[in-house]
């Protein structure tokens, strides 16, 4: 089941924000919408919840969600984590919050088991059930927000800057969970971010958005090695890609593009004439 976005545009107070956006988001994949602040990515992602573009359509399971009827048909299959994730908080305690989202999305199975499983998915244990959200740290609140949209087991997970406010350990853990959701639970995941390093680590496919337009898309390496393009969009090339770019521009031997530092080291070792070693 894929998501198709066709000729989507959006105006706010007569100001055009999105221009003729076309995308195809494959099922059971992580697609990243990469763009700087103000590029239109949050506005775009919001449309998965509001379904009200000025023109164009978003199709989920061939249903156009840009009308009330279509949106209500697939509403329970969409989990959307907004940039201002605190707007999701409607209840005092973690347990009340997650139960609220289960009821809101008419979840039919064992609710307590689902809450405990979801808390574990965001690296929190069941002792959090009775904790007050207002007394949690930023990172814990972020994970409760994430749990609020994962708890009703949506098929399509839309995340706007999911790693912001998280510690490196928590980012690594959440990345693992995203891979779990993709590979084991076959979720379709769309992540909006300005962090090209994150895009390199998690994406199967990347769209770059700039000033409301999709200006590039493709597999992650083919997109992220375009350093000039990223720079023109105020995005920073991932360090490992930048390293390979500099080598390939300045040295006769070519090295590949990698997501893992150990693969990069193997490639460097292969590419250096052995008599030149220190």
């Amino acid at each position: 089941m894929e998501i198709k976005v066709e000729h989507l545009s959006y105006k706010k107070n007569q100001n055009p924000i999105l221009f003729d956006v076309n995308m195809k988001i494959s099922s059971s994949m992580i697609t990243t919408l990469l763009g700087s602040s103000g590029s239109g990515k949050s506005t775009f992602l919001t449309l998965f919840q509001s379904g009200c573009p000025t023109n164009g359509s978003i199709y989920i399971e061939n249903i156009d969600i840009c009308n009330k009827e279509g949106l209500s048909t697939v509403k329970n299959k969409i989990g959307y984590l907004p940039f201002h994730y605190e707007s999701l908080f409607v209840k005092k305690t973690v347990g009340e919050q997650l139960l609220f989202y289960l009821h809101m999305h008419s979840y039919q199975q064992d609710m307590m088991k689902q809450i405990i499983d979801t808390l574990s998915l965001v690296n929190l244990n069941q002792t959090y059930f009775t904790k007050k959200i207002s007394e949690l740290s930023n990172s814990e609140r972020k994970r409760i927000a994430l749990a609020s949209i994962l708890v009703y087991d949506p098929t399509y997970i839309i995340l706007d800057e999911p790693m912001q406010d998280l510690h490196t350990c928590e980012i690594k853990a959440l990345e693992k969970q995203l891979f779990f959701l993709k590979n084991i639970k076959h979720k379709t995941i769309l992540v909006g971010t300005k962090d090209a390093e994150l895009a390199l680590r998690i994406s199967d496919y990347i769209y770059i958005i700039n000033q409301g337009k999709i200006i590039e898309h493709g597999d992650k390496i083919s997109v992220l090695k375009k350093e000039k393009l990223l720079c023109s969009c105020h995005l920073k090339t991932p360090k490992m890609i930048h390293f390979s770019n500099i080598v390939n521009q300045n040295v006769n031997t070519k090295i590949g593009y990698h997501c893992d530092i150990n693969d990069l080291i193997k490639d460097i070792y292969r590419a250096i004439p052995k008599d030149k070693n220190v």
């Binding site: 103000g38 490196t168 105020h234 360090k239 460097i268």
Partner: protein
């Protein structure tokens, strides 16, 4: 400001008997553990948290130095003001000329009369940074304030801070979750579950690798690469710059 002495400071469930001397001219970067609010050391300075212990600035209790302390928060709230109104709000020695110079440096000079609510998140974060900088504090605290900025805006801030540090008697304390930013500072402070684990500088980064791992971090990319390449005898000593590393590896010099 010559130095800030943090003496035996404890915050319930957050910090345990912390002793640090912050010296003028240094840029300190704090890295902590997840689920532990070690950045509460910052909350002491805006008086939003109670603590035990003493904080002394130039031999005097820090509360008398409040006007010389600037805190740039990680989150910010804006109301429907113009950029100019927002920046004027609590700037004591507000001078339009210096404001325009700074705004121009950050490419925001054309936004002076624009409603702040219509700015991008990165521009809002930048404004929050500028508002504090305008007060020219001696002690500047950065509370993970770059996470909402685009890379170019963050680079501008870093460029600004490097120049600003040279204006004399400044201390920066920067709390971050990004290990790459260790290289922005001159010293780092590693916290582990509320305890000060290690103080170091660029020269001790590799020997402190295990401490970084203990609190969940790898080394910054270029140092990690440098360190791992040394196992293969490809580099001899830590290298801090990608271009320099490539020159050394391929003997381009």
């Amino acid at each position: 400001m010559k130095q800030i002495q943090i003496k035996d400071v404890t915050i319930l469930n957050q910090l345990n008997h912390i002793n640090i001397n912050l010296i003028s001219g240094e840029f300190y970067v704090i890295l902590g553990t997840p689920m532990h609010e070690e950045k509460s050391v910052i909350s002491i300075f805006d008086r939003s948290i109670s603590y035990e212990g003493k904080i002394i600035i130039n031999e005097i209790d820090f509360q008398n130095y409040q006007k010389n302390i600037g805190i740039i928060p990680s989150k910010f709230v804006f109301t429907k003001n113009s950029v100019l109104e927002y920046l004027k709000k609590d700037s004591i020695a507000f001078k339009k000329k210096s404001l325009l110079e700074i705004l121009s440096f950050f490419n925001l000079n054309h936004y002076l009369h624009k409603n702040v609510l219509f700015l991008s998140n990165s521009q809002k974060a930048l404004l929050s940074f500028i508002r504090v900088i305008l007060k020219d504090p001696d002690f500047l605290i950065l509370d993970d304030c770059f996470t909402r900025m685009d890379s170019n805006d963050k680079e501008k801030c870093i460029e600004f801070l490097k120049k600003w540090m040279k204006t004399g008697n400044k201390i920066i304390l920067y709390y971050t979750n990004d290990v790459e930013d260790i290289l922005l500072g001159t010293q780092y402070l590693l916290f582990d579950r509320g305890n000060l684990l290690k103080i170091g500088n660029h020269q001790t980064l590799i020997s402190d690798e295990k401490y970084f791992h203990n609190i969940g971090y790898d080394l910054p990319f270029i140092l990690d690469l440098s360190h791992k390449l040394s196992y293969y005898n490809l580099v001899k000593e830590p290298i801090f710059n990608i271009e320099e590393m490539i020159q050394i590896l391929w003997k381009l010099k």
